[in-house]
Amino acid sequence: MKDSLLADPLLGTTLTLAAYAAGMLLYRKFAWLHPLISAPLLVYLCLRLSSISWETYQIGGGMVSFFLGPATVAMAVPLYKHAMRLRRMLPSLLLGALVGSAAGLIVNASCVLLFGGTSEFLRSALPKSVTAAVAVDLSGWLGGSPGLTAALTVLTGLFGSVTGPWLLRMCGVSDIAASSIAIGAAAHGIGSARLMSDSEEQGGLSGFSMAASAVFTPILLLPVHAWLL
């Protein structure tokens, strides 16, 4: 009886949903505790305490993460909507996002090369500035570890969303469009979500930049992929 219940996808899906709901509730109380930190930790702790194996959890957990694929494809819609709205500024904004994507790859690579990291870490860290669904996809494609990339990507987004607005203002980027583009290109969805809570316009601009980077980064990575494999 117990075995059949454990082997059912219900266990993994329910645990994931419950942890996510709890994470959202916690976030409402403690604004510094992002749900992408608390929810996975809750799942991890539950598995540890109940001695349910990772493989058993993944029967249902895998079903939840399956939807990352369609969610990545769905990002075409906000990209299209924002491009229509921002038509006049579009060339400058697109170029800005392109510069951000290229800088992301160069900086991420140089950090690993300068401060010592394994080849697997390099492959996992390269795409960490792009939105997590795409980063995970790119990591597997480059031969990195998708789980590690997911963690690095979320931490990057959190750091960028907390420090970004302040840092950009300090360095003289007071223009709303420019700073929103920068945060979208470096801190992807988490940065955009943060800006969205300030104003719809900034959130939209930064979401556009995030989606544009999600398109530019894989294309810029093509030669790297050919060289690595």
Partner: protein
């Protein structure tokens, strides 16, 4: 439901292009590129996919939870790469943000000057 079918269809098309036709980009990214192109070309109407796409992107965080729960087990295995990880997360992210922000500001200003000259 129609929107969801269209999105899944484009995801599937990306998968086919990647695994059968051997296009060297990740399959979901290919799906994203195809759907973007279809929207701009008017093959897919925005109203068809808008609601489903909003649902999927709104709950994107949920879909990451299983992956990240696995990553909690990965972190000790970071080993020799921890310094690189710390630097690229903090300093690296700051540099990327500044580069992109300064470049966009410069580009926007240039554009304004040009329109001012023409007008």
């Amino acid at each position: 439901m129609r929107g969801f079918c269209i999105i899944m269809g484009f995801d599937g098309a990306g998968f086919l292009l990647h695994s059968l036709a051997g296009v060297p980009l990740p399959s979901h990214v290919l799906g994203l590129l195809l759907l973007t192109a279809a929207l701009f070309l008017g093959i897919v109407k925005l109203e068809w996919v808008e609601a489903s796409a909003a649902f999927l992107t709104k709950h994107m965080m949920l879909f990451f939870v299983p992956l990240l729960a696995g990553a909690a087990g990965f972190l000790p295995a970071l080993g020799d790469s921890w310094l690189a990880a710390a630097v690229s997360l903090t300093l690296g992210t700051a540099v990327i943000m500044l580069t992109s922000g300064l470049a966009t500001r410069w580009l926007l200003r240039k554009r304004k000057e040009r329109t001012a000259d023409e007008g």
